[in-house]
């Protein structure tokens, strides 16, 4: 097991329990499979974090291969929704959970959509972001800047010296590196757009956009002034100047922190991480290793689990895998269709739920349980099962997740009400089966399960 360098900021001092491991598995992965929390807790805090940030070997995909329908493998490049399912499958099955979780963070950070690019190019972008998962932020930004899907999405391929297009030039500062109204002016936007000129591609009637390339003929090689620096800047300078901007670390670190921890980052922690980030040349790994060991990660308020993590977690908890491409439209219903973020600012991680999204999650639970629901006509269900036994059975089905007293009382109360509905003798078994199916569905809809 690799060891971790000491954190530049404070670390969680308490005993690392199964409960802490469970939070780590939900926030830095896609939820525990049965037994995962116990195994992780045994590694201790540093060991558990290192197992996520420094996994050994190549990622393995464990469990049944994904299908869009029985007998039909996924076709992520050409079939609508199979792109979503292809990635969801990696979230469910990959042994390198944080690799997928970081890729999801970068996808939301540099939000690009199939609404402006093709599925094939989105998948290539996804591989690029996966390769950079805990790497250097500057190098990631360079690759994002020249990524074909991004060039299409933010008009980089339409930005020429004859007519600069400000789309990427503005967002690279506002959303990706500095934050709105932080350390740049409209003049910088314009000059960034000029520096970014020169990217183009070929269009083909049949296959769509291809052959993305930098064409010096289209590039404005004149002198630009960006953040007060003068030079014949290119897209490489755009990335360098943004990352070296004095206000970049104070944008980047709180944003990254916000994906993992509900509370705002404390001032001293921010300053310590800013120093480490600059000194290390803009590496992401030391930041994430500090965040995952920070006391607030374990002691702070709960967070609502993001929708796609919720869906993956429902399957992982049952050791099930993706066997229907319904997961794509369920992604839409729950508010997180992969490769189709709501806009270039990505998903809003602070507000996932409303009446519509809650209903979407209920639908997700239903689909997750589709194969495991018990047939009410079954002859092999205990016909004398009482209300507490039914609740205990349903909790055991989900590997006994931690739930509050109040939630437990509510499940028990439902279990009793359901039993009171049994009137005729023939109803004894089918009603108990339905009660069990219902309890298994209710558990993951509770606030306890939907937060971590």
């Amino acid at each position: 097991m690799p060891s971790l360098p000491s954190s530049p900021t404070e670390t969680f001092p308490g005993r690392f329990t199964e409960q802490h491991a469970t939070r780590l598995l939900w926030r830095a992965g896609f939820g525990p499979k049965p037994g995962d929390a116990k195994r992780l807790a045994a590694l201790g805090l540093d060991g558990a974090v290192a197992s996520l940030t420094r996994p050994s070997g190549a990622a393995q995909l464990i469990g049944a291969k994904p299908h869009s329908a029985p007998g039909q493998p996924l076709d992520p490049v050409d079939v609508w929704g199979d792109d979503h399912c292809w990635w969801l499958d990696r979230m469910v099955r990959s042994t390198h959970q944080l690799v997928e979780r970081m890729t999801l963070i970068w996808h939301s950070w540099f939000a690009t959509s199939i609404d402006g690019a093709t599925q094939g190019l989105m998948l290539k972008q996804n591989q690029m972001m996966r390769a950079h998962w805990l790497g250097n932020f500057h190098d990631l930004l360079v690759d994002v800047t020249r990524d074909p899907a991004m060039l299409l999405w933010l008009s980089g391929n339409a930005n020429t010296k004859y007519s600069p297009n400000e789309n990427y030039g503005r967002e690279v500062m506002e959303l990706f590196t500095l934050g709105a109204q932080r350390g740049y002016s409209q003049r910088d936007v314009h000059n960034q757009a000029r520096a970014l000129t020169g990217w183009t591609n070929t269009w083909n009637q049949g296959s769509g956009p291809s052959n993305f390339r930098f064409d010096p003929e289209l590039h404005d090689d004149g002198v630009k002034v960006i953040f007060g620096h003068r030079g014949r800047f290119t897209y490489l300078d755009t990335a360098r100047l943004c990352v070296q901007h004095p206000l970049h670390p104070s944008f980047m670190i709180p944003k990254l922190w916000g994906y993992f921890i509900a509370e705002p980052i404390p001032g001293p922690t921010l300053r310590a991480l800013e120093r480490a980030y600059r000194a290390g040349g803009f590496e992401a790994r030391p930041l994430v290793e500090a965040i995952l060991r920070h006391p607030l990660f374990y002691e702070g308020a709960r967070m609502v689990i993001p929708p796609v993590v919720y869906c993956a977690g429902l399957l992982r908890a049952q050791r099930r895998t993706v066997q229907t491409n319904s997961w794509a439209w369920i992604g839409e219903l729950t508010g997180q269709r992969l490769f189709e973020p709501p806009n270039v600012a990505g998903w809003d991680y602070t507000h996932w739920l409303d009446t519509s999204r809650w209903s979407g999650r209920f639908t997700a639970v239903n689909y997750a349980l589709e194969e495991t629901a018990i047939d009410p006509e079954s002859k092999h269900y205990p016909e004398r099962e009482n209300a507490p036994q039914a609740v205990a059975r349903a909790l055991a089905f989900w590997d006994n997740p931690t739930i509050s007293e109040a939630t437990h009382r509510s499940l028990l109360s439902f279990s009793r009400s359901a039993q009171r509905l049994i009137k005729a003798d023939w109803e004894q078994v089918p009603y108990r089966v339905m009660r069990q199916n219902a309890l298994r569905a209710l558990i993951p809809t509770t606030p306890d399960w939907q937060t971590c």
């Binding site: 339409a158 020429t160 506002e174 936007v189 507000h351 009446t355 239903n366 509510s410 339905m434 606030p447």
Partner: protein, 471 residues
């Protein structure tokens, strides 16, 4: 699309039971109900609630009764809100054209040589659109033909140069300003949300209804509940191998767990619980709008347009039906699917996206008129900014400042408010300057449409000019 099931949620079966009971009571038309008469057996309508309905907004509750909304199907908060609100209370429908729609392609000075010079490929060709009734030098773009008809009929007010001082060219910042009704990035409640916090109810989530499948920030409240749906008939739940009474009990259990934990001190727990609690209320209220097969259980008196990739017209059809049924809606927000961030190939977005939006809004107006509801409803169409006067060489336009906004309704004054913004006196970034502040429009709407003191809702309300917007 989600598959549908014959087994259905409890509210629906309850309302079915109620309808059956009504039919058997010898009173085929619930509007004939008299509060002094005994209640039809088996409907589950308790007397107190029924009297509550009878005492206040007769029409609301009667209308609801006709659709099977009542008794246990209509939860107490909704019934009370419907009663208190009455049948004449005003409704504001906020429609957001996302991405910053190009005002110069909606309403264009087609003969202006400056315009033609600034828009070599995108200019609306003279004669291609409909002349603007109030100023013959302007023309509606061909994609906005349905807007032209509304304006010609005196049912559309147009703001051709709306915006705010120190315009922000970020989509997100500018949109946020419009949503919260102030140039304040930290304000976290919508301008209509703050209105609902003052006049709304703590038990009626339908008072602020987003019809985009997610909460629209314009409606974000600090206290009172609001809801998000898509269309009324699509709001339903089912479970594999759980049906009948047990399924009803399951949904009720999820909602009551939400009721119990919605005030949790943990913000994340409260967020989940609040949603669960409100799902229960909305589910019961909307059940009658959906057939057992998941189709719309309502009809529209007019035909809405149909187009691939959008259900915006159908959402408006559902909205008109909900208003007609007397549901206690107060502020509603919708966002059409089309994004107007036209950095390139702008003409394609306009030609395919705008006509269906404009026709849907005109059809919604006709629907309300056919149902006799038009005087109660005002539609507000807005976008976060207009676009750069000079087109960008990708046959598109970059982010601008002043833009276009409209109000539609029989009670709208139906004229142009403000002036056509000059193309020769552009700001330092080459954008048109605003001559009407959107916050002044919000203040005027609050005062004239809702009869509400704007100072309690819009920061620095007294700094903004008011406009005569309502007849």
């Amino acid at each position: 699309m989600p598959r549908t099931r014959a087994t259905c949620c409890d509210g629906f079966s309850r309302s079915e039971a109620m309808r059956a009971a009504l039919a058997g009571s010898g009173r085929p038309d619930p509007r004939d109900w008299d509060p002094r008469m005994p209640l039809p057996a088996g409907t589950g309508v308790d007397r107190r609630r029924f009297l509550l309905g009878a005492a206040g907004g007769m029409l609301s509750v009667y209308g609801a009764g006709r659709l099977g909304l009542g008794g246990r199907a209509l939860s107490e908060g909704i019934a009370e809100a419907a009663t208190l609100q009455g049948s004449n209370s005003p409704i504001l429908v906020s429609i957001f054209l996302a991405g910053g729609i190009d005002a110069l392609s909606v309403l264009a000075p087609t003969a202006d040589p400056t315009y033609i010079k600034l828009r070599p490929t995108l200019a609306v060709a003279p004669g291609s659109g409909t002349p603007f009734r109030e100023d013959p030098s302007l023309s509606w773009g061909p994609a906005a033909a349905a807007f032209a008809q509304l304006h010609d009929a005196g049912k559309m007010t147009v703001f051709p140069g709306i915006g705010y001082t120190d315009p922000d060219m970020s989509h997100f910042t500018s949109r946020h300003y419009w949503e919260v009704g102030a140039s304040d990035t930290r304000l976290m409640t919508g301008w209509l949300g703050r209105y609902l916090d003052i006049v709304g109810s703590p038990t009626n989530p339908l008072q602020g209804l987003s019809m985009d499948s997610e909460m629209n920030p314009t409606l974000a409240t600090a206290r009172n509940p609001v809801a998000a749906i898509d269309r009324p008939e699509t709001f339903s739940l089912w479970l594999e191998d759980v049906w009948g009474d047990i399924f009803s009990e399951t949904l009720d259990s999820a909602s009551s767990l939400g009721d119990a934990q919605r005030h949790s001190g943990d913000a994340a727990i409260a967020q989940v619980a609040q949603a669960a609690s409100e799902v229960g209320i909305v589910r019961r209220a909307l059940a009658p709008f959906r057939t057992a097969d998941g189709d719309a259980a309502y009809t529209s008196p007019v035909a809405y347009p149909k187009a691939a990739g959008t259900d915006f017209p159908q959402r408006l059809a559902g909205l008109a039906a909900m208003i007609a049924a007397g549901l206690p809606l107060h502020c509603v927000a919708l966002t059409p699917e089309t994004q107007f961030d036209t950095h390139s190939a702008e003409a394609a977005t306009f030609n395919t996206g705008l006509p269906v939006i404009a026709e849907a809004i005109a059809t919604f107006q006709a629907d309300l008129e056919a149902r006799g509801l038009a005087d109660r409803v005002l539609v507000h169409v807005w976008s976060e900014f207009g676009r750069r006067a000079l087109e960008n060489g990708s046959k598109g336009t970059d982010h601008g400042a002043a833009g276009v906004s409209m109000l539609i309704g029989t009670r709208a004054t139906g004229t142009m408010v403000g002036e056509w913004p000059s193309l020769t006196d552009l700001d330092v970034n080459g954008n048109q300057r605003e001559n009407v502040d959107f916050r002044g429009v919000y203040c005027s709407l609050l005062e004239q449409w809702f009869g509400q003191d704007a100072a309690a809702i819009i920061p620095d309300a007294n700094r903004y000019a008011r406009y005569q917007l309502i007849n």
